[in-house]
Symmetry: D2
């Protein structure tokens, strides 16, 4: 018996999930798509042969046929839809970040807990083969006790300024994936120190954001980490992680569209890496959804739970404060305070 | 309006195509599957939600609803089904090799020509991103005029002896892909010289076959080539090609399941390459079928035609004669003769 | 006419320079070696066919035949020998660090300035082919304006505890090379934030030192940097640098003793990287000495001058204070203060 | 007590050995250099501080002070000097090929045997770290029993036509190194099949030579091999070898001047490989000479003996006949016949 799903949000990531749910996820049946822009909902329904579409997410949530809701709408609507869905007894998959505000997140998580439904957060990178291999290298003892973590994460080009303005900023929108990766690999962080600046485009600065950042992490287990983000690597999406430990190191490289080397009179070269997240992480989007559907269908706990969505937001808040005040900030300074 | 397809043969490759046709090929509708082992047909129908199944391929070919037939049955049945399908006015996708005998192939190709249907041969490797990139490097002049070609192609382990006995031999079953690759990249071959022997398993020799071969090619355009095959690389599927030309070289590497390097006290290492053809060439199986469906639907010529299926068989026959007689053999020696 | 040199210190690095000066440096003539352990001086003299040896460095400095002094004795003696040599009108090559104390360094540099002799500091890594290529990538504009720097620098195993005790600590002894590299590539640093801890061997902590550190740098030009050090990478010497800029990135890899890949049933692997600095940086030791001799002989300015020896010491002091006080420390806080 | 050497031939390779003998070879003392062009002898003597020089090789051979002769003169003079040196009781190091004619070689080897002196042939590539690692991979059983060998060996550009005319041809001058490598790694060859043509420069064809060749080898132990040579790889010296065996494969890559990767908007690339043999194989030239001096000094057998110089000439003759007659040629067909 398949799991019946409804999708809220038919933008880029919503369509990506529509694609995976209708072609690659066994046991999933995508019944309906909602988007406040009805044309977007209609177009997605046609392209992915989804039976129903609506401009009213609440209507979709209320549908008796639907077992689980996939939330890909804008961040400011996530908590509202989580709460509605939880109260309707639906299981929930929600894109990152849950929200920019801890109090709002806590309210949503409380509704989820009260309803006894499952909530999975869309930190898809955990499901990538490279990161899974790093996790395995740590878990198996292959590289001993982890001492340090180095994450380099660069986009091929900045998002539109209109998006920058509502994104919550680089740490909330982009580095949040790296905060999740840090926790996924080495556990909780105790203290952070952040440097950030505008190096790519002054318009990003005028919008109140940064485009380049380097952050230092002190983990609760004593390990040290660093994360570097840039909104623009001219050679494309750069996604590398290294964990160094007492018995060795595990280091990821980028994926390229082919494994061909061209040698000519100028150089020995490869084509550029996979351009951006849709190309680079497509399989991880597939896998997270397979795991979500499988967890719901079998009654197991989802692989990325509510608290996994909450802590990276806390880290982004700590990082932003560290940058503003130019000092290391402990995560427990942020808890219980307005950002 | 989708293209309606019927599949003959529900073995390993048949099931692979059932998978791609039902999940990854836009505009394709797989209506029925036939296998003389009815249980195999039934199981494939269930696993891939194919509406109909039958133990009678002729019945499937006769079905008025079906526009195109995908032939994945055993090699000795290919020509018969090609002829039946052509006479029924169906377009045809047929796995390699068409047959082991040139006269039989010629009869099938004549039936296809007479019926005016399309026939695409399953040389999937042409659709692989690495090989497409080599082709582009040549076509664009990026590496100048090709002087030499080097193909190394090794399987992770030999097939079962029962399969070896009906396979037509290493050159007809395995190296035939490399013969196709040679033609795809550098054009027609004029003369070949082949060395072959049993180095892996004496049982392969007792079955009248070899498991290791090295073949030299002289192309019509004057280029030189070499192909090496082994039935057993303990580290897994090894698929590498290099084209060297007047302005440079293009060289493919293997694909690995992840891009992680592990450094420990013993070595700096990667996990083994993708194990075998299902893993390594899955995307090329998808792409060849997308291109087949698109060609049929739009009335364009299929990308790998009947003669592309015939010439590699001719090359296999030349290679086997060269090995037997320990001398270079011209392809035109084989034409019009019994093998 | 060759440049006549005298060597003070016949320990590991002293012998390395004796080797390069007697076999690889055109125009160099190593006349004498001094070591307070006369047996060490004698042994080096024999092994490298140096005409004279003595247990008295002052005697060597006073020798009228000698044009230039190479100082490889223990750090606490560097400034004394620099001052003696400068007053004797000798040119000087001195190993890093000049001293642990800024006032002492300033006194030595003043003596050098007053005497009008040249002083080159032994930051050999600048002369390594990889680092020279990074420098060229920046200087030529190949990677645009630098935005970030990432240095990973790990030793194969910690030095003996007796050495740790007199080494000045990880930042003064080991990371000082990385501080120099940071300045060499991206210019002066304004502020630093450092994390350090004992993760390898408690005895290092008992000796008052750390064995693992991660440091964040803010450069005067606005770029961000990070440096990671570990005293023990079980896979050997790990020396990697990446500069990321507006038009691209330049990234170094490690050198291995051979370019062979072994594929077997377990993995695809290479032999471990060159084990330690003697193997990895031998050619850079040769080149720095060729450049020193050439600069002295031709009257050009030496490529790494006194201030290049002073600033990394300042950075080590800033790093140590940052670690103690867990806050970012500006380099100008350290100037003019006791450490 | 050092070994006193005399050098005959002050051309490119002669000067290379003068360099290694005077700077890198312990226990070697290069006393004199002879070249029929006295200016060349004089210039080498000055550049490498060799005490004596002469235009008369016979005078050098006769010198009582000299223990061993290094022959780097033109190929047509090798046998004459070997015989003279042997009769004078001198040990001999001779560049490849010994001669183009087997009878001439046999006469020289007989003189060496009669005199009881040692003769080492200059197949320097055996001493390269990559090839030594391959040898070790085979000897240690790391890759099991060897099944195949693939050698790709390409020069950056053809030699001058005047040199081509006296070189003995591509197989005698260039591929002879690969014939030696094949024997070094997998033992004796039984039969060869060769393709060769002019693809780079018609002037090479007019001089009676080829510039591109591909050769198939059948080893006595049953293994198969292939060798590819091109006189012009626009990306520089391309030197790769792969041995494939029952338990794995060992594959060499090229060496580059640095380990830096540049990523920009066009590609991810490395600088070209080391340009030619002086750069690529310098260390192997050093090591072969260290081993020669050490063997002579200690009375051990030299690592590459007369027969190792003879068999590759036999292979070149077999290859040339195979090419002319377009058929596989057994090495025992060549023995005892005029070429």
């Amino acid at each position: 018996m398949p799991l019946n799903l409804g999708l809220i949000g038919a933008g880029r990531v919503g369509r990506l999930h529509a694609n995976t749910l209708t072609t690659r996820v066994p046991g999933a049946k995508l019944l309906a798509v909602a988007d406040i822009f009805e044309a977007a909902a209609k177009s997605a329904a046609e392209d992915y042969r989804i039976p129903d579409h609506t401009a009213d997410p609440t209507e979709l949530i209320a549908s008796a046929d639907i077992d689980a809701i996939v939330i890909c709408s804008s961040t400011d609507t996530h908590c509202r839809f989580i709460i509605e869905a939880a109260r309707a007894g639906k299981h929930i998959f929600c894109e990152k970040p849950i929200a920019f505000d801890l109090a709002e997140i806590d309210e949503a998580l409380a509704a989820v807990a009260e309803a006894g439904v499952q909530l999975q957060i869309g930190f898809n990178r955990r499901f990538d083969a490279n990161h899974a291999r790093l996790k395995q290298a740590i878990a198996s003892g292959e590289i001993g006790e982890p001492h340090t973590l180095t994450i380099i994460s660069r986009d091929p080009s900045p998002p539109p300024i209109d998006y920058v303005k509502v994104s919550g900023g680089l740490m909330m929108d982009m580095m949040i994936h790296d905060f999740d990766m840090a926790r996924f690999l080495l556990g909780e962080v105790e203290e952070m120190y952040a440097l950030g600046d505008v190096k790519i485009d002054p318009a990003i600065g005028e919008a109140g954001d940064i485009d380049t950042a380097k952050v230092m992490l002190r983990f609760e287990n004593g390990a040290f980490g660093s994360i570097e983000n840039s909104r623009q690597a001219v050679y494309g999406y750069d996604q590398r992680v290294e964990v160094f430990g007492s018995e060795g190191a595990a280091t990821t490289g980028n994926w390229h569209p082919n494994a061909v080397t061209i040698s000519d009179a100028a150089s020995v070269r490869r084509d550029l890496p996979l351009h951006f997240f849709v190309e680079r992480y497509f399989e991880s989007y597939v896998t997270e959804m397979i795991d979500f559907v499988e967890a719901i269908s079998s009654g197991k706990t989802a692989p990325v739970v509510g608290n996994d969505g909450r802590v990276p937001v806390l880290m982004a808040l700590a990082g932003m404060r560290s940058m503003r005040e130019n000092r290391p900030v402990r995560l427990d300074e942020i808890e219980g305070q307005p950002a």
